[in-house]
């Protein structure tokens, strides 16, 4: 039995017909065609699939597409226009927060959610906020520094 839903992904509405058991991740990667969000475990353990659903970070591998019906979904592709990078994207690059890049989309989404709710986080808060996103390359150092730098820049700009 297929279900008709509408997902708003990065501001674009997609009327879709999905299986009731289809995950949000597979629906966005397959039906919507945005492959920035990654599948690393299909078990909510790695965070590579992190998306914002109505502003809240979720592991989209363990979230049904039908649960997101009518919601605003934001993926890594929605964090900037792809030309002018968002400050977090820029900072990840300049601070060594990106190596293989596979965890990066989910990491950026978690960081975006953090700074949306806590504009001036402590280092501990930053580390906790991305503790659901596994990275094997960077040791998290560049990632934590990047998020802290963006928060500091925003604070300086008032």
């Amino acid at each position: 039995m297929a279900v008709d839903i509408t997902l708003s992904v990065n501001g674009v509405p997609y009327p879709l017909t999905v299986d009731p058991h289809a995950s949000l991740l597979h629906t966005v990667r397959g039906d919507v065609g945005l492959t920035g969000s990654k599948e690393g475990c299909d078990d909510s353990e790695c965070g590579a699939c992190m998306m914002l659903v109505d502003g809240r970070p979720v592991n989209s591998c363990s979230y049904l597409a039908v649960q997101a019906d009518g919601s605003d979904v934001t993926t890594v592709e929605g964090l900037s226009d792809g030309e002018t990078l968002a400050p977090l994207q820029e900072a990840f690059l300049t601070r060594g927060g990106v190596q293989c890049g596979f965890c990066t989309p989910g990491m950026l989404v978690s960081a975006t959610a953090l700074l949306d709710r806590s504009p001036n986080p402590s280092e501990d808060e930053i580390r906790t906020a991305v503790s659901g996103n596994l990275c094997r390359c960077t040791g998290y150092d560049g990632i934590v520094k990047a998020i802290a730098a963006v928060a500091a820049e925003r604070a300086a700009q008032g």
Partner: protein, 774 residues
């Protein structure tokens, strides 16, 4: 020598400007970059494997008729559908699909291609395999007993490297020997013996491997998440018996490897399914498969060490016996016995040596290269052993290392005479960064301590190739066979070429990881991309430089000796207004190309005459030296260990790309801490994995991370890579667990003798009387 510090998290020291951004960065942060699993092909089918149902069994029959009859199934293949050839690195002991026997739970018996992943997996389960079940033999130490059943009955007939000393379940036996260690041991003031055992662990790239194969005529292209595209190409060509010219391996963005994606793995399985079905076939591993199916994990190891010392800390003898778990097949890990033995010696002055290492078959998942293969476990054992030795002679462990670490002119374990080397400098730097003096003064709480460990790792000098070609607008393209695993080493190649050509790194594009484009390369393994491919790029750029200077000389009517390349132009030295731009020279349509490989550096001479089974690794080329120091806190009631502060001092020669080099240390240290404390593949009594998932195989998270301070000791190493560089990627995981182990021991008063040093093991060690089993 120069020193570069990297400010730690929270430090107020301003950071160095980071001018060079990796060329693949934008696609990675925007989500637009394509990894293999992001590719889709019209008409594609999905693959699934039927794995062995027993860790050890003889195959009586395979019936694929029910699987083939399932609607949506396009093909089911077994050993009958591929040439009957074996493959493997130093020993050819494996087939694509198991034929006579299965030898571990991940052995592939059949492959399915179907319309959906779900149908493919259902069909794989419908393959009917009749077995004669044999006893599993997961105990890799017991497997070398004379009466142990031989796992590879036909081992003697296998093709193998003639230098390997093989005997039944012993895939390789190696002895490193110098002088008369037995006599020297007998004459030592103090002799200390230790026994350490390390569990197997995993590379765990966050990207599970993915492959897509598509044929056009007689040629196949395989898009694969491999670290070694040329090895993958050779593997497909050999196992399917087709020429390498008919096989093209393309690697889209690679989502990490850490060694686990080295070697030829599943490219031919997918290629044969695509050939039979005449459709593109895609295989994407689940996380569980990523743990269980690759013939690639960090080897379990049983390590006995014995050191004889004088009371003033001279090491007069080192003996050792190491047994390594090779698992079911050789893969590319045939050299591990020798490498492990070198790490049982370590970067220390040893009067005499006799270390014997065995690399044994078992019915476990095969072991092969994971970031500095054999070194972290051997180093963990040796460095704890050295702390025991120091305690036995009443010397501070750091002082023992000061007296025994090698320096220029000292001799290695088989007579290698070291050139300029930064071992002692890394020790002092790490001590300073961690605040060792404050620790010695007793300024830490009694549940905290500082542990120190040293280690080493060689550079691997191998052939490599690259082309540099100029574009008509004065930009350039590097075409290289090198593979980018995420470390940034390929991304950093333009830095080398730009300097030679007077251009900016951002003027270069890079064509990489496509076997039809770049020259042969070993791949992203052995921390050698900058070392070898960097050398190739330098030589290729030099050729372009010479051409540009000659063309400029003609154009400017000047002598080549009076010209320089700068700011994208050939110009007269001292008269920069007399110049011609590279764009003008390159824009005529005449190709301006350079190719390079460079001369492979060779390791210093050594004497392997007393060694057995030598593969020529007794001498370490341009050794990289490391000291790690860890401040840990141990909860004696629970055994939980937290690393609070970490210092990493490295001699990796001259650092070419500091952002990239720092990133290797941060990541490597965190991987090392995971291997020290939590990471192990737990198995049942038959060797089946019990924790093939990220919930139970516990990686370090951002919250677990200590403050990490880095110092680069930039020794001008003879015989190094471009600009005096050495490798960077593997050493950061080498002494990490040793440093953590030594710190734990200082808190609980006893060395934990099993790796990883889990909370349970730390608690048991802390609460079992000395001399009793932990």
């Amino acid at each position: 020598m120069s020193v570069i510090d990297t400010p730690a998290q929270g430090s107020s020291t301003p950071e160095r400007p980071r001018a060079f951004l990796r060329p693949d960065g934008k696609e990675k942060v925007t989500g637009l970059g394509r990894y293999t699993a992001d590719l889709t092909f019209t008409g594609q089918l999905h693959a699934a494997f039927r794995y062995a149902d027993h860790p050890h069994a003889r195959i009586v029959s395979i019936d694929t008729s029910r699987a083939k009859a399932l609607p949506g199934v396009f093909a089911v293949v077994t050993h009958e559908d591929v040439p009957d050839v074996r493959y493997g690195g130093m020993t050819q002991d494996r087939r694509l699909f198991a034929k006579e026997k299965v030898l571990w739970e991940g052995d592939v018996v059949a492959g399915v291609a179907a319309r959906t992943v779900e149908i493919a997996r259902e069909a794989a389960a419908l393959v009917e395999v009749e077995y004669e079940v044999l006893s599993a033999q997961p105990d890799y130490v017991a497997n070398m007993a004379p009466d142990a059943p031989v796992l590879h009955e036909g081992w003697a007939e296998y093709g193998a490297d003639e230098n390997l000393v093989r005997d039944g379940n012993v895939m390789s036996r190696y002895v490193i020997a110098k002088g008369d260690a037995d006599a020297a041991m007998a004459g030592a003031d103090v002799v200390v013996k230790s026994h350490y055992v390390s569990d197997a662990s995993q590379g765990v790239p966050i990207e599970p491997r993915a492959l897509v194969a598509q044929w056009t005529g007689d040629s196949v292209t395989v898009w694969s998440s491999t670290q070694v595209p040329f090895a993958a190409r050779s593997g497909v060509a050999h196992t399917l018996q087709i020429p390498e010219s008919k096989v093209r391996i393309v690697v889209p963005l690679l989502g990490g490897g850490f060694g686990s994606k080295c070697d030829f793995h599943f490219e031919a399985h997918v290629a044969i399914l695509a050939k039979v079905t005449r459709r593109p076939v895609r295989l994407v591993f689940t996380r569980k498969e990523e743990f269980v199916a690759p013939d690639h994990r960090r080897e379990g190891m049983d390590i006995e060490l014995e050191t004889g010392v004088t009371r003033d800390g001279r090491i007069v003898a080192r003996r050792g016996r190491m047994v390594l778990d090779k698992g079911a097949y050789t893969g590319e890990g045939g050299f591990f016995a020798q490498m492990a033995a070198m790490h049982a010696c370590g970067p220390y002055k040893l009067d005499t040596v006799r270390v014997e290492a065995f690399l044994n078959y078992s019915t476990n998942q095969p072991a092969a290269s994971i970031r500095a293969p054999t070194a972290p476990q051997a180093c963990w054992a040796l460095e704890q052993h050295l702390d025991e030795v120091a305690a036995a002679i009443g010397m501070d462990p750091v002082e023992l290392r000061r007296r025994t670490l090698v320096a220029e002119g000292d001799e290695g374990p088989a007579g290698q005479v070291f050139e300029k080397i930064g071992a002692k400098e890394t020790l002092e730097a790490a001590l300073e960064l961690i605040g060792y003096d404050a620790y010695l003064r007793g300024e830490l709480p009694d549940d905290e301590a500082v542990g120190v460990a040293c280690g080493w790792w060689p550079c691997f000098g191998v052939p490599s190739g690259a082309y540099v070609k100029l574009n008509g607008d004065g930009t350039a393209t590097i075409v290289t066979g090198a593979q980018e695993n995420g470390s940034g080493s390929v991304m950093g190649l333009p830095i080398l070429a730009a300097e030679i050509l007077g251009m900016s790194p951002s003027d270069f594009s890079i064509n990489y990881q496509d076997t039809d484009a770049g020259p042969w390369d070993m791949g992203s393994s052995g921390s050698q991309t900058t070392f070898n491919n960097g050398r190739a790029v330098v030589e290729a750029a030099q050729e372009v430089r010479a051409k540009l200077l000659a063309m400029g000389a003609e154009k400017l009517e000047a002598d080549v000796a009076d010209l320089e390349l700068a700011d994208g132009a050939v110009r007269v030295k001292g008269a920069p207004e007399t110049s011609v731009t590279i764009a003008d020279l390159a824009g005529t349509g005449e190709p301006i190309l350079g190719k390079g490989s460079g001369e492979v550096p060779e390791a210093a001479a050594s004497d392997a005459s007393a060694c057995v089974g030598s593969l020529g690794m007794e001498s370490f080329l341009a050794p990289q030296l490391i000291t790690h120091a860890a401040r840990v806190k141990v909860d004696r009631d629970t055994g939980v260990v937290r690393v609070l502060d970490f210092a990493a001092a490295h001699d990796s020669g001259v650092i070419v790309n500091k952002v990239g080099a720092d990133g290797q240390v941060y990541g490597g240290v965190m991987m090392g801490i995971g291997q020290a404390l939590t990471e192990a593949t737990w198995t049942d009594e038959e060797g089946r994995q019990k924790n093939p998932g990220l919930l139970d195989y516990k990686l370090q998270t951002a919250s677990d991370g200590p403050r990490i301070q880095i110092r680069w000791i930039e020794i001008e190493t003879p015989n190094a890579g471009p600009k005096g560089s050495k490798g960077v990627g593997e050493p950061p995981s080498v002494p990490t667990s040793g440093a953590v182990g030594n710190a734990i021991a200082k808190v609980i008063g006893r060395h934990v003798d099993k790796l990883p040093m889990t909370a349970e093991r730390v608690w048991l060690a802390a609460n079992s009387p000395a001399g009793e089993d932990q």
